[in-house]
């Protein structure tokens, strides 16, 4: 954790400029996280569309997995997935 900055060191209005360190918003996640079975995925990208943060990783136009630094465990992706490829698992479950 970087040292907290003083008020004089912050840009006006606290704006975020290019090159700013990325804030990880996944720290709020409690309990469960999504796990995908890519072999069942039909790449409809509904999970990407519905994710309220940036937890769905897409390379080119292909869903490749989750970035848990930005996942709050809201379960929307699992709810929306038409292929049943996403399931919510306990936080401590190891995922690749």
């Amino acid at each position: 954790m970087a040292e907290l900055r003083r008020w004089q060191q912050l840009p006006p209005g606290g704006i975020v400029t290019p090159g700013a360190p990325r804030a990880r918003t996944g720290g709020w996640r409690t309990g469960v996280k999504p796990r995908v079975r890519l072999e069942a995925c039909v790449n409809c990208l509904l999970c990407w569309l519905y994710c309220p943060d940036a937890a769905v990783r897409v390379e080119g136009e292909t869903f490749v997995g989750f970035d848990y630094d930005y996942c709050k465990g809201c379960e929307l992706c699992a709810e929306m997935c038409p292929a049943g490829a996403i399931e919510m698992v306990p936080e401590e479950t190891r995922v690749d």
Partner: protein, 391 residues
């Protein structure tokens, strides 16, 4: 406080005078919703736009909440942005005024001061301004149409100054200033434009270096980000003074953050804001002509409040009445609170007088009655001037 150098005068209402200032400023975006007594401002400005005399984008939004929201986005995207409102309109805007200040959006708003409901009323008092007292927005209170014009030009520079970057409200008393025609001296358009200059947003929303605006801030950063507004307000005091000097170079007029009127050897003084200063000055002149040592302090900048200057101006005045055109039920009225804080530890006897709510007239004899009450040290200033009271 002014010396006229202009060659010609126009007969304009305060609202029209502000609209002329807006025409000369030529803002890029004006998101607006009509409300009495602000309407003549935007009506006159809309005519300038439709006649091709101003080129900005007039956005007819569906509410004042939307007006200020659109203004925040517009100002931070890099467009010079103005709006105008009154009373309930400002109440609906208030949520976003705080956000505009926190996001450091330099939006200039003309505020035709009008009593807040209820009961519903359309006439002047300062309760609408006081609703956003703590928002982080600058508030300049003017005395007449001429000052409304001058302050609008100045407000743009003040808001956009890189050390300030705060919303500025130019507060003009509803009807008394917004609707009353007075001789007003306008700068030639090219001089007004030269004074106002170009708006350069320090960190544009879009472009080569795009930014994220309005971030979430948790307990680790909220306090620091709020404190930026305190610093910006402190900077605004100095910027305002230098802009008053600079504008005086164009107009030959000065409207300082506070105006001391015949205060030097005064034994009794009033402190007030807005158009009623004109009436009070006449009474001061009249009492002075009868050898009564009275004076007046008119506050032109309520935010930032010129605390040190108020303290200095009143340092040798033994009896002071602070006239508030707004009340704070259950507490001290807002202007009184400021003056009392400025004079703490001093020796002045302070009285609080609330007057003129909902457009209640303020006559010369009312001013004299307040001065009289200060003369009698055992007496009591009327805490609520002109209030009918008793069973």
């Amino acid at each position: 406080m002014s010396t006229e150098t202009a060659t010609s005068l126009d007969l304009l209402t305060g609202g029209e005078a502000v609209a002329h200032a807006m025409r000369q400023i030529d803002p890029d975006v004006v998101p607006i919703y009509p409300i009495t007594p602000q309407t003549p401002i935007i009506q006159a400005f809309a005519k300038f736009v439709s006649d091709g005399r101003a080129g900005g984008e007039l956005v007819n939004v569906e509410s004042e909440h939307s007006a200020m929201s659109a203004a925040v986005g517009s100002a931070l995207a890099g467009a010079r942005t103005m709006t105008a409102t009154s009373s309930q309109g400002l109440a609906l805007m208030a949520e976003v005024v705080y956000i505009a200040a926190a996001m450091r959006a330099p939006i200039v708003t003309a505020l035709g001061n009008r009593a807040l409901s209820g009961p519903i009323n359309i006439h002047c008092d300062h309760s609408d301004s006081m609703l956003i007292r703590d928002s982080g927005a600058i508030q300049l209170f003017v005395e007449n149409a001429q000052e409304a014009y001058d302050a609008t030009l100045l407000a743009v520079r003040l808001a956009e100054h890189p050390d300030v970057l705060l919303p500025v409200f130019v507060c003009l008393d509803g009807f008394t200033i917004t609707h009353s025609a007075e001789p007003v001296s306008l700068l030639p358009d090219d001089e007004a434009k030269l004074f106002v200059g170009e708006y350069r947003v320090p960190h544009p929303l879009l472009g080569a270096e795009p930014t994220t605006q309005g971030p979430f801030a948790m307990p680790d950063y909220y306090f620091e980000l709020r404190h930026q507004q305190v610093a910006a307000m402190a900077a605004a005091e100095g910027v305002l003074e230098s802009l008053v000097d600079e504008l005086a170079g164009f107009t030959g007029r000065r409207y300082d953050p506070l105006e001391a009127y015949r205060l030097d050897d005064a034994a009794r003084a009033l402190v007030l804001m807005g158009s009623t200063a004109g009436t009070a000055k006449d009474v001061v002149d009249d009492l002075r002509s009868r050898a009564h040592p009275v004076g007046l302090l008119r506050i032109g900048s309520f935010r930032p409040f010129p605390t040190a200057a108020v303290r200095a101006a009143l340092a040798r005045v033994p009896d002071v009445a602070v006239l508030d055109r707004a009340d704070s039920p259950g507490g001290a009225p807002p202007l009184f609170s400021e003056v009392a804080a400025a004079l703490q530890g001093g020796r002045a006897r302070l009285r609080s007088v609330v007057y003129g709510l909902g457009g209640r007239d303020f006559h010369p004899e009312d001013v004299e009655a307040v001065f009289d009450s200060l003369h009698d040290r055992g007496g009591h200033a009327p805490a609520y001037l002109g209030l009918r009271s008793g069973r």
